[in-house]
Each structure stands twice: as structure tokens, then as C-alpha cells.
Subunit: 255 residues, 2 copies
């Protein structure tokens, strides 16, 4: 039975997509079967996996519009055990169309029922907002992985995110828990960064992944080649630390 | 007659808030009268100007809920010529409530009519999405300032943003133009960054500000002190380049 993990944080640019792609790729290399769902109309997880958004394929929009199932839409990627549900700008329309739909928060959850047994992990890359696309992800998921950039605004935004997660837990998805907080773009030479890390670890204790993802150029360059860092430069610190984070996730989720 | 400039880009974390605060503060120091409007429920422009979001003041939500006017809500900041319309998480509610409201895209524009003559520039800091809060800003504005982080995903997102701006221009605000693209977090030692800069300047020509904002630690540290970089560390490269960008904006807008 696959574990569905939403990668979410309404603060922009904290490393949600980078985490969703590189954790998925790392787990796939470690022989887990992975489905990555891009639920951001920006489609960064789609292009970051090398899929051309102008291509003639179906997208997550077709699933929200009740036209197709998950298995109709999913694409194979360059990595054997990693499948992708792509997105394009059309998804912006779904957010507006969903509003008048009964049980509008449960559409993704229902659609995933068909494939959940075929995967070990299903990751959902969320947009930087708390609208219906993110709500659908939080309702479908069993846990939420929260990337936290080591900067002031990113830390400030956590209170609002936790409030929203609690709200969803109480009203729409009682099973929802926090998978963990993953520190991103960590730079040990930077005082502000060290202060943020200290504050987060003090406040969230063992909910914070032991591994922190360093700021590493390979993670920023890999998307322009349409590849996860593991395929772009496997020896880079960025690729290696996501591999470590994947192993930590397996340990956390195996009991 | 004040010039209303929306600072927008649906890509997250590209420096919208940092640009809105530091350009506003720089123009205020250059003796222009400035109003900064925080239309992001994250409230980063509010805390970045030293206003406590838990304080008992009115916010932009009260304006959208038709309870108060702009002059009821505006707050003075530490900088003489800089006033702020603050925001908190309540604004998330406004985005949903606005949907059934007639002329829902024109609420901010109408509210600003009352104060537009009291300011030289009015900046609107937008959230990382293209929902009703950003649409209201694009309808109220005469121009859009687009911060562009020197990275791949940020460049990829420009096409969708320009499509949305054209759509607003054709249907809701025929006066809307692009004020300019401002390159942010520029690091000349970084190949990817230089490639993105070359690509953007080639494609957008004189629409790109001559000055590029460097990656500079003072810009990331200043918000944790609730101050624009000019008050936190005026000699920093971050503060100085935003002062240059403010002078460039004055030149661009004076004819
Ligand atoms: N550890 C890292 N080191 C260097 N660059 C990184 C790292 N993580 C992410 N980046 C870069 O930082 C930018 C923001 O990351 P990313 O797009 O993954 O964040 P996001 O939270 O998904 O953004 P959005 O809120 O727009 O969805 C991207 O250009 C990415 O390539
Ligand atoms: N030139 C810079 N040098 C160093 N750090 C910067 C610079 N510009 C912005 N930052 C930092 O990068 C992070 C993202 O910037 P900011 O929050 O202004 O982006 P944003 O586009 O407003 O994000 P959001 O999409 O969440 O609204 C912040 O922590 C900020 O302090
Ligand atoms: Mg993303
Ligand atoms: Mg912002």
C-alpha cells in the first residue's frame, strides 16, 4: 500500500519542486516504485523530469475535469521506477472550475484509489498557495513533507501552514500527519541560516530530518537539462544529500 | 497623480517582497511619497517593514470586505515618506469571498481612487499565484514590475506570466504595461546565472533594468530586524543597488 506524501509550503521558492523530484528519483534508484504528481500549474516538476509541457500528452487537468483516470495520464520518465503525472498552465482553470463541484476537496484522493497499490510512495508537488489544488493534495495524502528554506520569511510562514494542516486534519482528513520538515539551501557559513536551523530544530525536534540539504549549484542547474540531480551529476553534494534524505525517509516510514 | 506599480510573478521566492520593500524605501529616501500595499496573505511586506502582524490594526482584508477605506487602514512606517497597507492570513478568506462579488476584479482599483493623488508611487506586493488578489493588483496598476531570479524555473515561468498580463490588458485593464524586468539574486561567478541573464536581456532588451540586484546577505537578514536594507545596513551592496534601481525607475517614469 503506497504512502501518499504531499510536498507543501505556501512560501514560495523554498525547494518544494527540487525536493519532490530529487527525493522521488533517489527512492526510485533505491528500488522503490514511485509516482510523482505535479499539481502546480507552473509545471516545474514536469519540466524538471524532462517532459515537454507543449507535448501532446494528457495532464492532471484531465483528471480534475473527470475526463481521464490516473493510469490514462501517467508518463514514464528516464528513471525506471519513476512515473509522473504532468501539469501545464491549464490547471489554473481547474482551480476555478472545482469550486462548484460537490466534494471538490476529494477529487484527487478518489482518483488515486485506482493506483495506490502499484507504488511504494506517491509524492504530490504543491504550488505556493493554500488553494483548492493544495487542499486536494492534503486531503489525498497520509503525510506532509515541509521543505523549509533557511531564511527568515520561510520560518515566519510555518505558523500559517501548520494552522492549515490542523484545519484539514480536523475537517477533511483525520489521518493527515507531518512526515517531517526538511531544511533546504543550508549554508553553514551564513549566521542567519544557522540561527534559523537552531530555531527550527529546537521547536520541532525529531520532526526535522537529520540531514539538511545544502545550497548546491547542481540542484539549480539540473532542471535546465530536464534531469534530477542524480542523472545530471551524481557525485554532487546536492544529489548525494537527497540520496541520504531518501534513506532517512525509508527508515522513518518502515515502522 | 501617483503611479501604481504591481510587483508580480507567480514563481515563488524570486524576490517580489524584497523588491517591493527596498524600492519603496529607496524612493522614500529620495523624497518621493510612497504607499506600499501588501496583498499577500503571508504578510511578508508587513513584517519586513517592522509591523507586528498580531497587532490590533486594520488590514487590507477590511478594505476587500468593504468595511473600511484605504485611509482608515494605512500605517506610518519608520521611514518618513513610506506608508503601508498591512496584511495578515485573514486575506486568504477574501480571495474566496470575492468570487461571488460583482466587479470582483475592480475592488482594489476603486479603493485606491481616494488616495492616488497623495502619493508619487504606489507599490503592490503580490502573492506567488495568479488568483483574484493578483488580478485585483493587475487591474488597479498602470504597470507591472517583474522580479526575475537568475535561475531556470524562474525564466520558464515568464511565458505564463506574460500571457496573464496580456489577458488582463485585453479584458480588464487596457492601460496595463510592463514597467520592467528586474534581475534578482544575481551571482556573476555562476554560469547558469550568466546564461539566464543573457537570455533575458536578449529577449526583453530595454525592458530589463540596467541594474541587476546581486545576491547579498543584508537583503536576507534585514527582514528579521523588520527593516528595509537601507535602515539595516545602508553600505551593503543590496541596499546600494536598490537605491540605484530606484533612481533608474525615476528616470524611466519621468517622461
Ligand atoms: N539546495 C539547493 N541549492 C541550490 N539551488 C536550489 C536548491 N533547492 C532549490 N534550488 C533552486 O532554487 C529555486 C527554488 O526552488 P524550487 O523551485 O524547487 O522551489 P519551490 O518551493 O518549488 O518554488 P515554488 O514556490 O515556485 O513552487 C529553483 O531555481 C531551484 O533550482
Ligand atoms: N538579492 C537577494 N540576496 C539575498 N537574498 C535575497 C535577495 N532577494 C531576496 N532574498 C531572500 O530570498 C528569499 C525570497 O525572497 P522574497 O521573499 O522577497 O521573494 P518573493 O518572490 O516575495 O517570495 P513569495 O513568492 O513567497 O512571495 C527571502 O528569504 C529573501 O530574504
Ligand atoms: Mg515548485
Ligand atoms: Mg513575497
Amino acid at each position: 500500500m503506497g504512502r501518499i506524501i504531499a510536498v507543501a509550503n505556501q512560501k514560495g521558492g523554498v525547494g518544494k519542486t527540487t525536493t519532490a523530484i530529487n527525493l522521488s528519483a533517489s527512492l526510485a534508484i533505491l528500488d522503490k516504485k514511485i509516482l510523482l504528481i505535479d499539481t502546480d500549474p507552473q509545471g516545474n516538476a514536469t519540466s524538471g523530469c524532462g517532459i515537454d509541457k507543449r507535448g501532446q500528452h494528457l495532464t492532471l487537468y484531465n483528471i480534475y475535469a473527470q475526463q481521464n483516470s490516473i493510469s490514462d495520464v501517467l508518463l514514464k520518465t528516464e528513471i525506471k521506477n519513476l512515473d509522473l503525472i504532468p501539469s501545464t498552465g491549464d490547471l489554473v482553470g481547474a482551480e476555478v472550475e472545482l469550486i462548484q463541484y460537490p466534494e471538490r476537496e476529494f477529487i484527487l484522493k478518489k482518483a488515486l484509489g485506482e493506483v495506490i497499490d502499484q507504488y511504494d510512495y506517491i509524492f504530490i508537488d504543491c504550488p505556493p498557495s493554500l488553494g483548492l489544488l493544495t487542499v486536494n493534495a492534503l486531503v489525498a495524502a497520509q503525510t506532509v513533507l515541509i521543505p523549509v528554506q533557511c531564511e527568515y520569511y520561510a520560518m515566519e510562514g510555518l505558523t500559517q501552514l501548520l494552522k492549515t494542516i490542523n484545519l484539514i486534519h480536523r475537517s477533511l482528513n483525520p489521518a493527515l500527519e507531518i512526515e517531517g520538515l526538511l531544511l533546504t539551501m543550508f549554508d553553514s557559513r551564513n549566521n542567519l541560516c544557522n540561527q534559523v536551523v537552531e530555531e527550527i530544530r529546537k521547536h520541532f525536534n525529531e520532526k526535522v530530518f537529520a540531514i539538511a540539504i545544502p545550497r548546491n549549484i547542481a540542484l539549480a542547474e539540473a532542471p535546465s537539462h530536464g534531469k534530477p540531480a542524480l542523472l545530471y551529476n551524481i557525485l554532487s553534494r546536492g544529489a548525494q544529500t537527497y540520496l541520504e534524505a531518501a534513506k532517512e525517509l525509508i527508515t522513518n516510514t518502515s515502522h
